[in-house]
């Protein structure tokens, strides 16, 4: 028996990033307590994270170079269950950046919380590994396994503050609702399998295209998968878990959850809707439009009344999901580019905002209220100015990156003639500005409530530097990033 046929060089080439992430995650689990028995030493585990990310990044770069060199649109592996194309590489690069940023901004926070364990770093690497399969999978089973790998890691990470009641509650809610939504998803997959007799996305696409778009079975498959995925991206009305999970999770994980998990789920959503379900566009586009409008409405209106900044950003994150859904609804190449660009800028600006909030957690100060930001301009002007940049960017004000993201979404909507959706989205920009500016107002116009300096660390400053620079850079010189998104989208199909 020749095993070579089951594991070819090409399979290896495609799988390298995932292997690296999984390997380094396991290395963290194995060597954590051998090398670093004391909590104060565990920050050196970041070297494993950095190494793993670098190796995975190298693998991605080689895939990209290979595609560019031979002018290919995709490389498939394992008999078509994995597909590497520009789209997957773009998303994976984004996940790696997010993982690294989240890793380096966490250690001081975990020390203060007294929960600095090595597993943390292993789990974020492993979650990233799951995301790899979400972006690159082209088979229902692979995709589902990727999703579950990511979600399981997140269930643990959300509950990582074992002594904190809120964290436990958040994890439990997230787990139960998450499992429920996975059930929906997998039910949808089983219907798709029933229709196609295969789990390959391409086969499912052919099978569904042969049927009428309003066929009840197609509708059932579409409805159940959509529910599952809309839950993952926290779109209304499947958003209930998000504010609680976001509030209870360790702050850095909240950032990770809102950025990477959301991006991965969107990658999955786009793959499904543009691939197997593309022929049912007439069915899902109006449904998704309703969901997008609801998502923006609930997200923006609920955010106004929040006093806990993590909850505020949770609702803001919900409203951002609404904007990204608008890009999916536009559905043309500009729309998908818009989704990519939006997720890219969202990754940096949102992680930046969460990095600032991470620094507010000091001994004896929870630092999660908007009032805890009061007077930040006097206390730590650098943090205040960076937070201002992130808030402006989240609000979509030029010349920050957030504007480019929103701009691209509007571009796609106008191009495809969705004038009303564009107008609603535009008006919610003004609503959103209100609550982001509550944060700004607190930092710049109020007096500080405590004298305790922010909990700074080298890693956190690097994280802030990277996210701040990227937020401004994408805003002022978006050209290379837009080109990247354009090429990535050109390479799918």
């Amino acid at each position: 028996m020749n095993l070579g046929q089951y594991y070819t060089a090409q399979d290896q080439f495609v799988l390298v990033p995932a292997i690296m992430l999984a390997m380094f995650a396991c290395a963290v689990f194995l060597f954590d307590f051998l090398l670093f028995p004391k909590a104060s030493q565990r920050k050196w585990l970041l070297a494993f994270v950095a190494f793993g990310v670098a190796m995975a990044g190298g693998g991605l770069y080689r895939q990209w170079a290979y595609l560019a060199k031979y002018g290919l649109t995709e490389i498939t592996a394992f008999g078509g269950t994995l597909t590497v194309d520009g789209f997957s590489i773009f998303f994976n690069a984004m996940f790696l950046a997010a993982t690294l940023v989240v890793g380096i901004m966490s250690y001081k926070y975990l020390e203060i919380e007294g929960e600095h364990h090595g597993e943390y770093y292993g789990l974020i690497l492993l979650a990233n590994c799951g995301m790899f399969f979400l972006a690159a999978g082209s088979d229902l089973i692979t995709l589902f396994i990727g999703l579950e790998l990511m979600a399981l890691c997140f269930y643990i990470l959300v509950g990582f503050l074992r002594g904190d009641k809120r964290s436990n509650e958040a994890a439990l809610k997230y787990l139960i609702l998450g499992a429920f939504s996975s059930g929906f998803l997998v039910y949808g997959f089983s219907v798709m399998y029933g229709l196609a007799g295969s789990t390959r996305l391409a086969d499912v696409a052919t099978a569904i295209a042969m049927r009428d778009a309003w066929d009840p079975l197609v509708f059932l498959a579409l409805g159940t998968t959509a529910v599952g995925l809309l839950f993952k991206v926290a779109a209304v009305p499947f958003h209930m878990w998000a504010p609680d999970a976001y509030e209870g999770a360790p702050t850095a994980i909240t950032g990770y959850l809102s950025v990477a998990s959301k991006a991965a789920s969107f990658a999955f959503l786009v793959r499904l809707l543009m691939g197997p379900l593309a022929s049912a566009r007439d069915v899902w586009a109006p449904l998704l439009s309703v969901v997008a409008i609801l998502t923006m409405t609930v997200g923006n209106l609920a955010a106004i009344t929040q006093s806990n900044i993590k909850r505020l950003l949770a609702y803001s994150s919900i409203s951002h999901a609404g904007y990204i859904l608008l890009g999916v609804i536009a559905g043309n190449s500009t729309g998908i580019q818009g989704v990519l660009v939006y997720l890219l800028v969202y990754t940096f600006m949102n992680l930046g905002a969460f990095a600032v909030i991470t620094a507010l957690r000091r001994r004896d100060i929870v630092g999660e209220d908007i009032d805890d930001l009061a007077g930040l301009m006097h206390k730590s002007p650098g943090y205040a100015v960076l937070m201002l940049i992130f808030m402006l960017s989240l609000a979509g004000i030029p010349p920050t990156a957030g504007f480019i993201g929103k701009y691209y979404i509007f571009l796609a909507l106008i191009e495809t003639g969705h004038f009303y959706l564009a107008a609603i989205g535009a008006l919610y920009v003004a609503v959103a500005a209100y609550y982001y500016f509550r944060v700004v107002k607190s930092m710049f116009t109020s007096e500080a409530t405590d004298k305790e300096p922010v909990a700074s660390s080298f890693g956190l400053r690097v994280a802030l530097g990277v996210t701040g620079v990227m937020t401004l850079l994408v805003g002022i010189f978006p050209e290379p990033f837009l080109r990247l998104a354009q090429t990535s989208v050109l390479l799918i199909r």
């Binding site: 004000i397 030029p398 010349p399 701009y407 571009l411 004038f419 008006l427 710049f444 837009l482």
Partner: protein, 518 residues
């Protein structure tokens, strides 16, 4: 340097701001001096424009072009014509005046204050110079952030409410405007196969009628909120009342002009059919006239000095928009000139309020009275500002209002008849304001012994006084500069307008000559 004159003008304040940030915030005087130097440098750099501008040339001058985001067809494209020339000069002059006027008024967080002001300067200049719609929009929004902080940090008691209201109003308008811009962008691609935001190229568009209307209203909301036109004006009194003096000056003198400038630069030339549509013109003229009369009447009722000046802005800007939608050369050039005049006169009025406020820390009109006795120089300067705003002949306001009314009269006698009431009410509220604050006996003992204006305060007013006199006595250079661009816009909106005029003159002139002879 001359090749990149506009870029230098645009970025001088920004460079000034960058250097300012390096000065430690404890050295307040060094910060003040540097901010003034930077503002003055901004003005001096812009001065060559006046001498080198060719008023006989049509089209844009001093153009600079560079690629910015080729993926979207966005360019860095600046250039000016006569209209933008006046706005750019107004911005740089008011920048100097506003920054000089803040010397004593701002004692806290001086560094941030001046940094915001210099950033604001660059933003506003960018709005008036951009010939690329995307770039225009970026500057349009950039301006909001420093103004938010100027009102929100250094403002009065209700500053937080006022600043966020200002911000959200303008942002909402801006977002809708962006959709209009994108519609043009795609329509251009549809018709010509390339993506561009360049205004001159977009003018070649032939829009379907429903789309043109749609885009017109999208632009209208963006610009009308900024002007502000009648139903959208509610943010203005709040913002003005709460802003620090220099903030009010810049807000009234320059930022409101961004809206009217937007109408002239974008709405009219890009959407000529919608701009000349009888219904739309009628709606806009009626809104302008309501603005004129409503602003004036509300001004009459005010007990708060600054609020009075703020509502007078609504009235004056009503004249400007009426002039624009008269859609004839007189109306348009009068409107542009009146925008400049409003910048000068209302700027002075806000500074006048600021002088009293710095001494008494109240804006209630009834707290004052008889100031002319204790502060004679101040009373004279205030009288000048008031008369210039009221449109006394030989001062700037007269020239602008007169030309606008002339243009409005040519368009419709009824409009002119209603609009002229604004002039009368204007004189009424301004004179009454002056009477209540400066004339009569001193009734409030707190007003005894107030120091008269210092040399620095006089220096703040000096450039504006000189400018007001110049426009009032010899406005010809201004009309010369405006003639070409205005004629182009009128010809674009009403093709054949000038030929028709000529033909009419040719037939009427002999008849009139005969009548005179008889």
């Amino acid at each position: 340097m001359n090749d990149h004159l506009l870029s230098w003008i645009l970025f001088t304040p920004l460079i000034g701001m960058a250097v300012l940030l390096l000065i430690p915030s404890s050295k307040k005087n060094a910060i003040r001096i540097w901010a003034n130097v930077a503002a003055l440098a901004g003005f001096l750099v812009s001065l060559p424009l006046v001498f080198e501008f060719d008023k006989n040339a049509s089209g844009y001058q001093f153009m600079e072009r560079a690629s910015w985001i080729p993926a979207l067809g966005v360019q860095y494209l600046v250039g000016i014509d006569g209209i933008s020339l006046l706005m750019v000069m107004l911005t740089t002059v008011i920048g100097v005046v506003a920054i000089l006027s803040s010397w004593n008024a701002i004692q806290e967080r001086t560094k941030e204050y001046y940094a915001m002001f210099l950033l604001l300067q660059t933003g506003m200049l960018g709005v008036f110079m951009s010939l690329d719609f995307f770039m225009f929009f970026v500057f349009w929004e950039v301006v909001l952030v420093p103004m938010y902080f100027i009102i929100g940090v250094w403002g009065g008691p209700r500053k937080l409410y006022a600043s966020i209201k200002f911000f959200i109003y303008t942002l909402a308008g801006g977002a809708l405007m962006l959709l209009g811009i994108l519609a043009l962008y795609f329509q251009y691609h549809h018709q010509f196969g390339t993506y561009t935001f360049e205004i001159q190229k977009l003018m070649a568009l032939q829009l379907p009628w429903h789309m043109e209307q749609w885009v017109f209203w999208a632009f209208f909301i963006g610009f009308a909120i900024k002007v502000p036109m009648f139903p959208f004006h509610t943010w203005l009194p709040d913002a003005h009342v709460e802003a620090p003096t220099a903030g009010s000056v810049v807000l009234a003198s320059v930022m409101l002009k961004m809206g009217t400038y937007g109408f002239i630069r974008f709405s009219l030339p890009l959407l000529p059919k919608a701009s000349y549509d009888a219904t739309i013109v009628q709606i806009l003229a009626v809104l302008s006239i309501i603005g004129i009369m409503y602003g004036a009447l509300v001004s009459l009722m005010q007990q708060d000095w600054k609020k009075l000046v703020a509502y007078s802005s609504v009235s004056h800007l009503g004249f400007c928009t009426l002039g624009i939608f008269a859609l004839n050369p007189n109306g348009l050039s009068g409107s542009v000139l009146q925008q400049l005049n409003h910048g000068i006169s209302t700027g002075m009025l806000f500074l006048v309020v600021g002088v009293a406020y710095e001494r008494r820390h109240t804006r209630e009109l009834k707290e004052y009275g008889g100031l002319a006795h204790t502060m004679p120089l101040y009373a004279k300067i205030a009288a000048f500002a008031m008369l210039s705003s009221a449109g006394l002949p030989l001062l700037n306001g007269f020239v602008g209002e007169f030309t606008i009314l002339q243009g409005a009269f040519e368009a419709s006698r009824i409009w002119a008849a209603f609009a002229v009431t604004g002039v009368i009410f204007g004189a009424a509220y301004l004179l009454w304001m002056y009477q209540r604050t400066f004339l009569g006996q001193i009734t409030n003992p707190k007003n005894l012994g107030l120091p008269d204006m210092s040399l620095r305060e006089v220096a703040v007013f000096a450039p504006l006084i000189v400018w007001a006199l110049w426009i009032g006595i010899y406005p010809k250079p201004y009309f010369d500069v405006l003639e070409k661009p205005v004629a182009q816009i009128v010809e674009r909106v009403r093709p054949g307008y000038f030929e028709a005029q000529q033909a009419r003159l040719a037939t009427e002139a002999p008849a009139q000559a005969a009548e005179v002879a008889r």
